[in-house]
């Protein structure tokens, strides 16, 4: 990934590289002015060569002292001026009438972009979470990570202003595009802005640079710079995903809302929430979870929050999850079978499939019970650890 870094991809990136180059050269000069004489003196006046009578206690040399004060000061002045000048370029926003203004929202742990309405009155809402690679117990990747639909489309050679904020109750993030050499924090309850003019068609990574919690290191996104005509065509259509290997349809919506940070989709892997593939849920059930949230299993992340998606988005997700996501038992399992079915794969309308439950989850449910929209599962506090692991083993074997 990290495409296009080697060459400058924004109009001001070259200035910054230039500044860093000047800085590097002067820094090496300053470095050598200290270290070179040090090595030379350490060799020239090494103990075996110097007679005690020849040691000289020189404590002052006005001209030299003035030189090594003034010359570095001038260099520092140059540094300051360069830093200031590039900051001015980076921070002077272009006129809004001459630019595309995109609203950026950073939240744990996804980027979302909202465009102004296009000629049809359609508002493009893009972005979403980077899908983490899913790794099995042996460290093999069983579901590849992907940027998903998390991309910001911009035309080449056009000013783009990013108006960035984070929701209240969220934390600090930082919108960092290494290829553009730009970065600014995203602060809850505040608007911060930055701008760029991409001068190269291509795809460039976006990273979060301000520490924001567990999945800070997966808060990636991507800027896709399109030729102007292609951008115009995309912008005035109602299709959010015109090109590239980006997710489409319901999958894309799952990404947009960050569902896939917690739920595995194409595998049975238990992430933070249960794998969606094996859950047999109706559309209404999914809608209910999305709308009211869920807090029954004591996941690492706490409850599944309510209202992650609303309206048609929620409908879409529900349809997708409900539609597309399709030994001998130990004695103690008899108590479970009445609700969850002989094979533990759930009985419609009564209890969910247990296939996606691992031992920890199972133990938790048995100990504390569980309250879902399907009904309340009572606690079974007397089930022993051995019994739990026996059940878990069995459930694993059914997968």
């Amino acid at each position: 990934m990290l495409e296009g870094f080697g060459s400058s991809a924004a109009t001001f990136a070259a200035d910054i590289d230039n500044m860093l180059y000047v800085n590097l050269v002067l820094s090496v000069v300053l470095f050598l002015s200290v270290v070179a004489p040090m090595f030379y003196f350490a060799w020239k006046y090494r103990a075996s060569k110097v007679k005690d009578e020849n040691i000289e206690n020189i404590t002052h040399h006005t001209l030299l002292e003035i030189t090594w004060t003034v010359v570095p000061t001038i260099m520092l002045g140059v540094f300051f001026w360069y830093g200031y000048a590039t900051m001015k370029t980076l921070r002077t926003m272009p006129d809004a009438s001459d630019a595309i203004t995109v609203q950026v929202e950073g939240s744990k742990w996804k980027w979302r972009y909202e465009y102004p309405a296009n000629s049809n009155g359609y508002v493009h809402k893009l972005g979403g979470a980077f899908t983490k690679p899913v790794v099995d117990e042996n460290g093999r990747v069983i579901e590849k990570g992907s940027m998903g639909k998390s991309a910001l489309y911009v035309p080449v050679g056009t000013n783009v202003i990013l108006e960035m904020t984070a929701p209240l109750g969220d934390v600090l993030h930082s919108f960092f595009v290494p290829a553009f050499r730009m970065k600014e924090d995203v602060v809850p309850g505040r608007i911060t802005k930055q701008w760029f003019k991409a001068d190269k068609v291509g795809e460039f990574d976006v990273e979060c640079a301000e520490y924001c919690g567990t999945d800070h290191s997966y808060m990636y996104s991507r800027i896709v710079v399109l030729p102007k005509a292609e951008y115009e065509a995309w912008f005035n259509s109602n299709d959010d995903t015109p090109k590239g290997n980006y997710a489409k349809g319901g999958d894309a919506v799952l990404q947009l809302h960050g569902c896939k940070s917690c739920h595995a989709v194409t595998t049975d892997k238990q992430l933070i929430g249960p794998a969606l593939k094996t859950r047999t849920l109706t559309k209404d059930q999914v809608l209910d979870v999305i709308k009211n949230g869920q807090n029954k299993l004591g996941y690492d992340m706490g409850a599944m929050p309510a209202g992650l998606a609303t309206g048609t988005d929620a409908q879409e997700i529900a349809a997708y999850v409900a539609g597309g996501l399709k030994g001998t038992a130990p004695a103690s399992f008899a108590a479970c079978s009445s609700c969850h079915g002989e094979d533990g794969k759930g009985q419609f309308g009564t209890a969910p499939s247990l296939v996606s439950y691992d031992a920890t989850l199972l133990a938790h449910v048995l100990k504390h019970g569980k309250k879902g929209m399907i009904g309340t599962m009572p606690a079974f506090p007397y089930v022993s650890d051995e019994e739990v692991s026996a059940m878990a083993e069995y459930l694993n074997s059914t997968k």
Partner: protein
């Protein structure tokens, strides 16, 4: 060690009463000012009166008068506080997007 001279209580207490009277008068001024004069500068006036009071307390009650070394350390500390104040104030009054941000009022 007793390397300090003892004091004459009767001779010194007069100054304490004088200072008390002055502080009481300034406190009264504190209450009068917002009702009577310069009411558009209440905050500044209050801080000014406070500074005068603080000065009196420092000099007489806290015996800072004549303390060279300690006096300089106090000035140094106050200077640092003042510097912190000024920089943060410069920053806060120059926020670029204060008008579009939700700093001063809830988001719509």
């Amino acid at each position: 060690m007793a390397n300090h001279k003892t004091v004459d209580y009767q001779a010194e207490k007069g100054i304490y009463y004088k200072v008390l009277f002055g502080l009481l008068a300034l406190t009264a001024l504190t209450f009068i000012q917002p009702e009577m004069f310069l009411t558009q500068y209440t905050f500044g006036m209050q801080m000014l009166i406070g500074t005068v009071k603080a000065w009196i307390i420092l000099m007489y009650y806290m015996h800072l008068k004549g303390e060279v070394l300690i006096g300089w350390t106090v000035i140094f500390a106050v200077f640092i506080v003042v510097f912190f104040f000024s920089i943060v104030m410069i920053d806060v009054s120059n926020f670029q997007y204060a008008d579009v941000s939700h700093i001063t009022s809830p988001a719509q």
